[in-house]
């Protein structure tokens, strides 16, 4: 028996593949035809083949607090998500615009603070920002870029329009899974690659390497680049190790590095000390340098900030870049784009209420049961309130928290997230998705064609985080002429 698409109903949500029961969208027609030709057994066999490949390739992510067994196999759905190249070109332009503006914003905050003086960005928001680092004031990194690797999360609403949901400018993760998902799909659905012209992803590590090389202190032909990880117990260790391997650079931990009294960074190798030019650091600001930040950090390198300030080492992302990775700053992104680039945002924000503002706060408190409330500086989907499904107790608790610390909360309307067909046991059902593309910004800019699609595997759920029951899909940017 094959799939019956006439039973597939997204029930009022925008489904990216099936316009209405039994009617696939134009780009999806080949895919639907192909899936239809397969029996349920064949589809199940392919899902199993993908899962076996994941175990064999050792694609894992780590969940905290599971005792001995901390590595879990990566949850992957075999049905790819399709996005038209023309639509994507516009989205990619929007991402470039956004990252460019955010970098100008960060540089301004650590420089003249024109945006505050001009009254566009409230001074009190800056004063209470958790991720503003006074230690970075007056510094100008190469190319004026602070956030070199950005992962902005995009969602579609019930009209199919893309919105930016949040910007991740500290240490965004997920790119290794994006790459591995493509490898898996090529194994499982190799025949579809002849029907579609899909933009390739595999050269991301080269782009990453080139971007990192472009922030080296000198124009060395062969800069020494390293990936710095907190170690095996970090949830993204697989990715740290993967990227180091793909770029052919060393994967270091803080204890491997020293800053000498020439204020340069060295790594300890069996050949002796070796100068390091660029560090792709995957640890948070506060652990980077115990001389400056968290004194008890054993993950960092004493003197690292000194070396960076003197321009002797490139750090990606730059310390302090996280100031723009704040959901309250997010609410100002359209104004920030207008202020620095004098352009309207290409990709809109999700309408956002800033609880610091009295009028907006009152609106939020009155409509708590209809809104999604997020703390300003959490990631991984933690600490959120989803109003429509929350208990009375939770609503009261959040009202209390918002009143106690309004600066720390924003609220957004409940989005009707788009869906895509997803394997659910033996059936194919609609499930909600988001999309995390990755933007590289050094001397040049690069946007991944597509990104990591995360899918909420539980029926009706919109929580896509892998630590909370989310899965993932390969994402295809498809050129129409060959579709």
């Amino acid at each position: 028996m094959s799939i019956d698409w006439t039973c597939y109903d997204a029930r009022g949500f925008y489904d990216e593949m099936i316009a209405s029961p039994g009617r696939p969208r134009a780009l999806a027609q080949n895919m639907v035809k192909h899936l239809q030709a397969l029996s349920s057994e064949e589809i199940r066999a392919r899902q199993q083949a993908a899962e076996a490949a994941i175990v064999k390739m050792g694609i894992t992510f780590t969940v905290y607090g599971e005792g001995g067994n901390i590595d879990r196999a990566w949850p992957f759905d075999i049905i790819p998500r399709i996005i038209a190249a023309r639509e994507w070109a516009n989205t990619a332009a929007g991402l470039r615009q956004r990252v460019q503006a955010l970098n100008l914003f960060i540089g301004d905050l650590y420089g003249e603070q024109r945006i505050v003086r001009d009254g566009v960005f409230p001074a009190e928001l800056l004063a209470n920002s958790k991720n503003f680092r006074r230690e970075c004031i007056g510094i100008r990194p190469r190319h004026g870029v602070w956030a070199h690797i950005c992962g902005s999360d995009l969602v579609r609403d019930d009209q199919g329009t893309f919105y930016v949901l949040e910007d991740n400018l500290r240490v965004p993760s997920g790119v290794s899974y994006m790459l591995e998902n493509r490898v898996l799909t090529k194994q499982v659905f190799s025949e579809l690659f002849t029907d579609y012209s899909i933009q390739p992803l595999a050269d991301y590590p080269n782009h990453l390497f080139d971007m990192l090389a472009s922030i080296a202190p000198s124009l060395d032909m062969f800069p020494e680049i390293v990936v710095m990880s907190p170690g095996i117990y970090n949830s993204a260790y697989f990715e740290h190790s993967f990227l180091a391997q793909q770029m052919g650079v060393e994967l270091v931990e803080g204890s491997d590095l020293v800053v000498s009294d020439d204020d340069c960074v060295y790594m300890s190798t069996i050949d002796g000390l070796q100068r390091v030019d660029v560090i792709y650091r995957r640890i948070d600001d506060l652990f980077l340098d115990p001389e400056v930040f968290n004194k008890d950090s054993t993950l960092g390198v004493p003197g690292l900030m000194r070396a960076w300030r003197k321009g002797n080492v490139g750090l990606a992302n730059a310390p302090g870049a996280g100031v723009a990775d704040d959901k309250v700053v997010y609410a100002f992104a359209p104004k920030i784009i207008k202020y620095y680039l004098d352009e309207d945002p290409i990709i809109p924000n999700v309408p956002t209420y800033v609880c610091l503002d009295k009028a907006e706060r009152d609106h939020v408190l009155q409509n708590l049961d209809k809104l999604v409330v997020k703390p300003a500086n959490e990631s991984g989907g933690y600490g959120m309130l989803i109003g429509p499904t929350a208990s009375k107790h939770e609503l009261e608790e959040f009202a209390r928290r918002i009143k106690a610390d309004p600066r720390n909360y924003i609220a957004q309307p409940m989005l009707k997230l788009s869906t895509v067909p997803t394997m659910c046991g033996d059936r194919i059902e609609p499930r909600h998705v988001d999309l995390r593309p990755f933007v590289l910004h050094g001397e040049k800019m690069y946007v991944t064609p597509g990104g990591l699609t995360r899918v909420a595997l539980r029926k009706g759920s919109t929580v896509v985080n892998s630590s909370q029951g989310g899965g993932s899909k390969d994402t295809w940017i498809v050129n129409p002429e060959a579709a």
């Binding site: 190790s241 391997q245 994967l251 000498s260 009294d261 300890s268 050949d271 000390l273």
Partner: protein, 322 residues
């Protein structure tokens, strides 16, 4: 290669070799105890003394009986020298150096760990001990073979060979010591069992056949000790393991200091006049060798693994560039 990574690879090899040799040691000692008539056994405390971990043992046990001592060497997770501890440390080190080692080696090491974790308790009673220990020895040999046969013999492999052979040299001296410990209290009354005991020592190192092929004399204590200490061809002899250590050190950069140490050690091993030594002298000599192995390790650590803190910049005005 990063110092930290180099150190982990070195320790993977040491822990695998340690697990294998602990299995050999417990097996040899058990066989000896079985062969001795009741009343003359030296007791099980010696087994812990040979490994040199009496303080850790005393923290957890009051009596040096067979169950406790064997459990301490095989199955206890609190014991610094149990087989379980060795394989789980080997596995932890391998988890963080997976990029550099063959994937099959990781799978195999993982299996070895699971096997020991799930079945170590079966190796404590005499009934299951032999089978369990044999299995551990076999699996360690497989892993060693897998690394030798599938890894490029580059720097990473030099470190594997270095760790494996230094550990092996050390453990072989401990296995010799196990016989000396049994013989010492009754050397005034050499028994009919002594030859049997040396045969067991050879067997525990898988050396009985090679001994017969190469030594071609009847088995006696001095000849066996000479074989296990000084034979140049038997892979588990101290001299051979030391030669492998020297060979590995030769390939590594900045090797002057460790090379000097290992050459000193080689002289000491090869020049020892084993024939003329009393049991006490032999035991004292083995003690000294074990200290020397430690010195080699310390030199290896200082040279390649220690995180180098840069020497302070000299501020004296040197010769300017003319």
């Amino acid at each position: 290669m990063l110092s930290r990574v180099a150190e982990r690879i070195y320790w993977i090899a040491r822990y695998i070799e340690r697990a294998e040799n602990s299995a050999r040691l417990v097996n040899a000692y058990t066989q000896q105890m079985l062969d001795l008539p009741s009343g003359v056994e030296p007791g099980w405390r010696q087994l812990v003394d040979i490994i040199g971990d009496a303080p850790a043992f005393d923290e957890h046990y009051r009596s040096y009986d067979e169950h406790n001592t064997v459990s301490f060497l095989v199955a206890d997770d609190f014991s610094p020298s149990s087989i379980l501890t060795s394989v789980s440390r080997a596995r932890e080190n391998m988890r963080t150096t997976r990029e550099l080692l063959p994937t099959e080696a990781w799978h195999h090491c993982n299996e070895l760990y699971l096997q020991v974790r799930n079945h170590a308790h079966e190796g404590i009673p005499r009934r299951g001990r032999h089978a369990f220990l044999k299995d551990v020895i076999f699996r360690c040999q497989q892993l060693t073979g897998l690394l030798a046969g599938t890894m490029s013999h580059d720097t990473a492999y030099d470190l594997v060979r270095l760790g494996r052979n230094l550990e092996r040299a050390d453990m072989t001296t401990r296995i010799i010591d196990s016989a000396i410990f049994i013989l010492m209290p009754r050397q005034r009354d050499p028994g009919q069992y002594d030859n049997l005991l040396w045969i067991n020592v050879l067997k525990s190192s898988s050396g009985d056949q090679m001994y017969r092929q190469h030594v071609r004399s009847r088995i006696d204590g001095a000849a066996v000790v000479k074989f296990l200490l000084q034979d140049r061809y038997f892979p588990r002899s101290v001299a051979r393991a030391v030669a492998e250590v020297e060979f590995s050190i030769h390939h590594l950069p900045r090797n002057e200091a460790p090379l000097l140490r290992i050459l000193e050690l080689r002289e000491r091993v090869l020049m020892a006049a084993v024939d003329d030594m009393s049991l006490e002298a032999m035991h004292a000599f083995i003690d000294k060798l074990q200290l020397a192995f430690n010195l080699v390790h310390n030199e290896i650590f200082r040279t390649w693994f220690q995180i180098h803190h840069p020497a302070p910049r000299t501020r004296t005005a040197g010769m300017a560039h003319a």
